[in-house]
């Protein structure tokens, strides 16, 4: 073998040239990081090695800026079987089963090429789930886009195009692979115009005995590459410009990966076949995600404390003359890495061949702790595994209070109230706003029922799937109101978790744990670091109160355009457990004559207008002091509601969020007509109404008090309900006169259910067409 400093067959810069030209800067590696790498190696890294360091030490792979913050999250709990650090987190749900879940962002690819960006976002998170040995059973999407009306958008056509293509990408991938898309949320704000957010959460089910780890253990065992071939797609993402690479015939391809859901479907089945039927020969399995082959293999070795020797000539390639650098950094989709007991490689190949897939041995586990790559008879990289993984830099970046906060806090949020002179009119406008309006136009294109487990499809507070062979079910939701966090990162962080928990509880389940996608701007901006730190503190506090540890997650930084960052948007994905399918509850009123109650904290409905939809609608902007939330108080309300649901006293429950109690009442009355196909249709839904009386001023109908619920109770059980939930306020009744009659101290609201529903249901389709 020749020396590590020999360059590959193509004309790559020498180690000295890498040093002198500082080409690593193009890969977002700093001079200090380069020097750190030199120090660890005791020599100059060659071109390939420098590339490996750059990508493994990128924020995306090693979370160098966010790790100190992530360490503050509570991650343990009595049911937690696997916390952060593996492909996905795992929580015990009894009966020998566990739920596996994680969320991931695909913001940047989706901004550039929305269809493939969103599609491969789905593909990537699915692989994280089945790499743990679980069968993916549900997908949820949390999406943020710019505004859809010309008055509030710079390029409204582009925004519509992004919505259309992101949704088409999710639909295309999820429907084809046959995992139901059961929920999520979509919100709109001008701050997301240049930088839409596409966060995908996947939930899987597993028998506890089948849990896998991504470990390359046992010297002499084989490293096998399975799935799609490796191409030049996705190398170094968008930071890599074509001019800097390849003078000859080889041109750099697009940084955006292309998904093949058919290939992934075969990959899921083949991997689960190996895990379930040939586990004795499988040592470890990991997805090739961000930074592809290098990241997956180095992490597998790191977790097992071993080394690896890979022969890159054996990597299946879809393009000619690929360099080691390109092969290692490619983010081609639908690939997995397996560690297989020596001597059993052919068995693995046979299994994958039956699914029409490649499975090739590309290297061996070693005991020297080194990461060694061979290509065309030369050693092209020779690096301690730890240097790439455990010893990656970690930064404690400075933070300062954002300048915006003082100005925002000086705003008088109660001014919004002055604009509300005709509550019925305000009400209809809110129902038509894209963030509040029905998202049926979107989820109508997702197969939400495949796998025949979906009990509650999209459109209620949380989606619910049953767990076969048990009496239990799982509730799941995604949540985050970036506007609140923009106004107050810490309180906003608490609210994000509280709202997720409210959704889970309203569906009749006990919150189990969360995953997150932390979407922020550049961490080099101390104000962004402040947002990140303080919202993480709020999230942590709420997770402790609701006993929902953080079991997995993802950080997406640099979400900015021309130095304009998105709202700090930590998406919370929460899963809850229902002990019995009898407890499944939706937001829909079911029966005329039912008593309607408001459950809220000790303070009732407060003038919470800061960051509210009604403030945005009536004043055109948001501001004010965000009122703190009493998490313990909210927890008490949740516990009381759960007790009542389990006692069979509740016909519907819906949490009060965007648009306030008026919108919550209306959404409860809308139900779903026979065309919508939610599987929870009520022939009466078209004529249901509500007749309630709230002892509040008109504007408070739209105040977004966190931790309040609208609940309907059979009249025969009203006394039992009031005994069980003494804090509940009786508001009135569900009616069959087809009218929404909401009396207040002022003029109140009186609108026909169907005309309000029409506005709410058709708005998004109108805005998008």
């Amino acid at each position: 073998m020749k020396s590590t400093n020999a360059s590959a067959a193509t004309a790559e810069p020498t180690a000295e040239e890498v040093r002198d030209t500082k080409i690593y800067r193009n890969w977002s590696m700093t001079d200090a990081e380069y020097e750190r790498a030199v120090g660890m190696l005791g020599r100059l890294p060659n071109y390939t090695e420098a590339g490996l360091f750059a990508v493994m030490w990128s924020e995306h792979c090693c979370y160098k800026s966010s790790t100190p913050i992530l360490k503050t999250f509570p991650t343990k709990g009595p049911r937690v079987l696997q916390g952060p650090g593996e492909g996905a987190g795992i929580v015990d749900i009894g009966n020998g089963k566990a739920v596996v879940f994680k969320a991931e962002s695909h913001n940047h690819p989706s901004a550039v090429e929305p269809f493939e960006g969103a599609a491969t976002g789905v593909g990537g998170i699915l692989r994280d789930i089945f790499s743990m040995g679980a069968r993916p059973v549900a997908v949820l999407d949390s999406l943020r886009f710019g505004e859809l009306d010309a008055a509030h958008a710079k390029d409204v056509d582009r925004n519509k195009f992004l919505v259309d293509q992101v949704v088409a990408g999710i639909s295309s991938y999820g429907n084809c692979i046959g995992v139901p898309t059961v929920g999520g949320e979509t919100e709109f704000d001008a701050c997301y115009e240049g930088n839409p957010l596409v966060n995908v959460m996947c939930v899987g089910l597993i028998d506890v005995k089948d849990i896998q780890k991504g470990r390359a253990a046992g010297a002499g065992n084989s490293i096998m590459y399975v799935g799609a071939t490796t191409g030049r797609d996705g190398i170094h993402g968008a930071t890599f410009a074509s001019e800097e690479f390849g003078e000859g015939n080889e041109t750099q391809r697009s940084a955006v990966q292309v998904g093949d859901p058919f290939m992934e479907k075969q990959l899921v089945e083949a991997c689960l076949d190996v895990i379930h039927n040939h586990n004795d020969i499988l040592v470890g399995i990991q997805d090739m995600g961000a930074a592809g082959l290098v990241s997956s293999s180095a992490e597998m070795a790191s977790k097992a404390g071993t080394g690896l020797y890979l022969k890159l000539d054996d990597v299946p390639q879809r393009e000619t003359n690929m360099t080691p650098y390109e092969m290692m950094l490619s983010e081609s989709q639908e690939r997995m890495l397996l560690c297989v007991r020596a001597g059993h490689e052919e068995e693995i190949t046979k299994i994958f061949t039956a699914y029409g897939l490649d499975a090739v041995t590309i290297g061996k586990v070693t005991d020297d702790g080194k990461y060694t790559l061979e290509h065309k008879g030369q050693i092209v990289a020779d690096i301690p595994v730890r240097a790439l993984t455990d010893d990656a830099p970690e930064y404690h970046l400075p933070d300062t209070e954002p300048a915006r906060l003082a100005g925002l806090h000086a705003t008088d949020a109660s001014a919004a109230a002055l604009h509300i002179t005709n509550p019925s009119e305000t009400f209809l406008k809110l129902l038509a706003s894209p963030t509040i309006a029905s998202k049926e136009h979107i989820w109508h294109t997702y197969d939400s029922q495949v796998l025949t487990n979906t009990v509650i499809r999209p459109g209620s507070d949380a989606a619910v799937i049953r767990v076969r062979d048990t009496e239990t079910a799982l509730a799941m939701t995604t949540d985050c109101n970036g506007r609140y966090i923009y106004l107050d990162p810490e309180i906003g962080g608490k609210i994000a978790v509280a709202e997720a928990a409210n959704n889970i509880v309203a569906s009749g389940a006990t919150p189990l744990a969360i995953t997150d996608c932390l979407n922020y701007g550049s961490p080099e901006n101390p104000e962004v670091m402040y947002d990140l730190k303080r919202s993480a503190a709020g999230i942590s506090e709420a997770c402790r109160t609701f006993e929902t540890p953080v079991i997995s997650g993802n950080v997406s930084l640099y979400n900015e355009t021309s130095h304009e960052a998105v709202y700090p948007t930590p998406m919370i994905g929460m899963v809850g457990l229902m002990e019995h399918t009898d407890h499944i509850t939706t937001q829909d009123f079911t029966t005329a004559g039912d008593a309607v109650y408001l459950l809220s904290g000790s303070q009732g409905i407060r003038p919470d207008f800061a960051g509210s939809e009604v403030q945005k609608l009536t004043t055109g902007s948001i501001g004010g002091v965000l009122a703190d939330v009493d998490l313990d108080d909210i927890k008490k309300t949740q516990d009381a509601l759960l007790t009542a649901i389990r006692a069979g006293l509740v016909n519907s429950a819906h949490d009060v969020s965007e648009g306030g109690v008026a919108v919550a009442l209306a959404e409860s009355a809308f139900g779903f007509d026979s065309k919508s196909g939610t599987g929870r249709n009520n022939p009466q839904a078209d004529v249901l109404g509500v007749d309630v009386n709230l002892d509040i001023d008109d504007p408070l109908l739209f105040a977004e008090t966190v931790g309040a619920f609208v609940v309907s109770v059979p009249s025969s059980k009203a006394a039992a309900f009031e005994a069980a939930v003494p804090a509940a306020t009786s508001l009135g009744r569900v009616t069959d006169d087809g009218m929404l009659t909401i009396a207040t101290r002022g003029s109140g609201i009186r609108v026909a259910t169907m005309s309000a529903k029409k506005v709410w249901k058709e708005s998004l389709a109108c805005l998008l067409n």
Partner: protein, 227 residues
């Protein structure tokens, strides 16, 4: 399983994704003897009925069902059908049966040009087939649909034949056609009545917990026809 229980084959093509749902429905819910049969199998010996699931066989690349029809098992399915034994295809299974020429017509993109997932209002158009005997003529059903290419299309001549022969088994309720199918057709049989294809998914409607069990009589009809 007792010897007398009919045996069902659920065909699995690469990319089938409702295969497990069909097996669950016929085996766990309806209690029949059933197993998966791979796309490359060359025999259906010992089976009494064939079920072709929904999904995206071969990724639906080229055209829905266009590649699957060339799978080795389809030779056997054809022979099976020619022997008069029952063959059922839902969604992608319907598309495959049309591509294979075992059923008349083709399935084009929905008129909306969008994937549609909803619970459709479906009407039993002919309750005298071996797949629909447990229903009544004109009975209203709620059956899930989930497809992008479900617009059933035949020539005027073929449509007249379908009507004359009682081959139209299911229609979407008036005003509730989700895909633009001609004459609101949701499911058809071959002339002999032993092959049926439909876009709605009866296997997604066999448990009340999941919203509807209107699909259960479909399977009991088929089971009864075998006993």
């Amino acid at each position: 399983m007792s010897v007398s229980s009919p045996r069902f084959a659920v065909i699995v093509f690469p990319g089938s994704n409702c295969d497990k749902d069909l097996l669950w429905g016929i085996k766990n819910v309806a209690g029949m003897d059933a197993e998966f049969v791979r796309h490359d199998a060359t025999s259906l010996d010992g089976f009494d009925a064939v079920l072709i699931p929904g999904g995206f066989s071969y990724g639906d690349y080229l055209r829905c069902g266009a590649i699957a029809r060339f799978s080795p098992v389809m030779e056997e399915v054809r022979r099976f059908a020619e022997e008069g034994k029952p063959v059922f295809g839902t969604c992608n299974g319907f598309q495959i049966l049309c591509e294979a020429g075992l059923l008349p017509g083709v399935l084009l993109r929905n008129t909306s040009l969008r994937f549609v997932c909803e619970t459709a209002d479906v009407e039993v158009a002919n309750a005298s087939t071996r797949f629909t005997s447990e229903y009544a003529d004109g009975q209203q059903l709620r059956l899930p649909v989930a497809h992008a290419e479900g617009r059933y299309t035949v020539t005027d001549e073929e449509l007249a034949d379908l009507k004359a022969n009682g081959q139209i088994a299911f229609r979407y309720a008036k005003g509730h056609n989700p895909n633009g199918s001609v004459d609101d057709i949701a499911g058809v049989t071959n002339k002999a009545g032993n092959v049926l294809g439909m876009m709605p998914h009866p296997e997604r409607a066999v448990e009340k917990l999941l919203g509807s069990d209107d699909g259960l009589p479909f399977f009991t009809s088929l089971i009864n026809s075998l006993q």
